[in-house]
């Protein structure tokens, strides 16, 4: 349980980055999002991103010295993650400011830069865990899983807020279904790579699948997938209530998956 702050940090930060990229992209392409709605979504993403940073400090022995974590950026992926995620949060605050001042051109520019910085932050975050000392983590599936959390939760979060405001003009169900199919493939790849890996990886797979958390994770994932599949053709289902329910299911699913990622990591 001592890695719980990292579970919360990685899930929330990836949600914030995914949501931010979605908002920036919808705003850029459709230009149908009103200022007040954009501001609400942008502010909620900044709050989520800020909570992620605060929670991550609880993992440190010396939280007040956390600023020093950028010192070894030349070699340490953790240092890079802290730097890029910090940069992303800063830029998303600036992006929110441009929503407040209703400056679309500057908003688009800053949003584009923050999107790149956010993607680098997720990349750095995944690279921290791709270490030979922990065979269950040392695989490209870690990278896919981290990006997929962002792609699964981010668009859905923005979609449900847009649906609440009555401004949803994009089929979120379709985007989410594709990301869930990708997540299912990655899940299969992950478990097959664990089973064919070192004894510590095989043990990680056993610990994961022999715990009820895994089955709750799978159940919430399947239910969310089924609801989203039904909503693709039934437009009446594309509403805020359904998206909120699916978001909660997938948030639980991703949270539990990440929890097991940390809890079942066996050292060499």
């Amino acid at each position: 349980m001592h890695d719980l702050p990292l579970v919360i940090f990685t899930v929330l930060s990836q949600l914030a980055i995914g949501g931010f990229v979605t908002l920036w992209w919808f705003d850029r392409k459709n230009k149908t999002i009103t200022r007040s709605t954009g501001l609400i979504i942008s502010c909620s993403l900044v709050v989520l991103g800020g909570i992620a940073v605060l929670v991550s400090l609880f993992h440190l022995g010396q939280p007040f010295a956390a600023y020093r974590a950028i010192l070894n950026i030349k070699v340490s992926w953790l240092s890079r993650e802290v730097t890029f995620y910090g940069g992303f949060v800063g830029l998303s605050v600036l992006y929110t400011w441009f929503w407040l001042k209703d400056m679309p051109a500057r908003r688009s520019l800053i949003g584009g830069i923050a999107t790149i910085i956010g993607a680098i932050a997720i990349f750095s975050s995944a690279k921290i865990y791709m270490i030979p000392a922990i065979p269950a983590w040392n695989s490209v599936t870690t990278m896919f899983a981290f990006f997929l959390t962002s792609i699964i939760l981010g668009p859905l979060f923005v979609g449900l807020l847009l649906a609440f405001r009555g401004e949803l003009s994009v089929n979120i169900s379709r985007i989410s279904i594709f990301s869930l199919i990708a997540a299912a493939i990655v899940m299969i790849l992950y478990f097959s790579s664990l089973q064919s890996g070192l004894p510590q990886a095989v043990e990680a797979a056993r610990l994961t699948t022999h715990h009820f958390i895994f089955w709750i994770r799978l159940f919430t994932f399947v239910i969310a997938f089924a609801i989203l599949s039904l909503s693709i053709k039934n437009k009446a289902m594309c509403n805020a209530k359904i998206y909120s329910f699916v978001f909660v299911l997938l948030f639980i699913s991703e949270f539990l998956a990440r929890f097991q990622f940390y809890e079942t990591a066996n050292h060499l």
Partner: protein, 186 residues
């Protein structure tokens, strides 16, 4: 040429008395449950024929230390003589070094809220003294060797229970029991 200091642990001599472990713990006044050096029993088939064998391990002062790469604050440095030193003043207790080390060497000190590991007693070495574990071993089973100068005969870098050495290239070497011949009465 720069030195490449490392431990040479003679498993054939080690009787598992834990003197190295306890003298280190006592010298550095480590918290309960904390050890910079650990003694463990090896599987009895370590050399083929059954033997009772113990091994004493600490930081391996690797050629390519994973702790140094993982640390976000740059608290780890590798000295010219090869010793990997952890600067506790810089440490923020993120514990990433402990995760990245294939030998789980860096430990979290729950009181100081910082990581802790063997420094090969570099401050003692610098004034011509031996590391405390080397000095206190009653069987002289632990030595400090400059591997750039000497390649001890019969020394091996890999033993059972020791993680893959190709990851960080640890400098620690071991001398194993000579395989004996088992005689049986029928």
């Amino acid at each position: 040429m720069a030195k490449k200091l490392g431990f040479l642990v003679n498993i054939e001599r080690c009787i598992g008395c834990h003197a190295c472990e306890i003298s280190c713990k006592s010298f550095y006044q480590l918290e309960p449950n904390m050890r910079r050096r650990r003694v463990q029993e090896l599987p009895e088939d370590v050399v083929g024929t059954p033997v009772r064998a113990f091994v004493s391990t600490a930081c391996n002062h690797c050629d390519d230390p994973a702790c140094k790469k993982a640390c976000p604050v740059g608290a780890y440095t590798k000295r010219e003589d090869g010793i990997v030193v952890h600067n506790q003043d810089l440490c923020i207790g993120c514990q990433m070094c402990g995760k990245a080390c294939p030998y789980s060497v860096p430990m979290f000190n729950p009181v100081k809220k910082k990581m802790d590991k063997c420094s090969m007693c570099y401050d003692r070495l610098d004034v011509g003294q031996l590391p405390i574990c080397v000095e206190k071993c009653p069987l002289e089973a632990i030595q400090i060797v400059d591997y750039n100068e000497v390649q001890p005969a019969n020394a091996v870098s890999e033993i059972p229970t020791f993680a893959d050495t190709s990851i960080t290239h640890p400098t620690t070497h071991f001398i194993l029991h000579k395989p004996g011949k088992q005689s049986r009465r029928f």
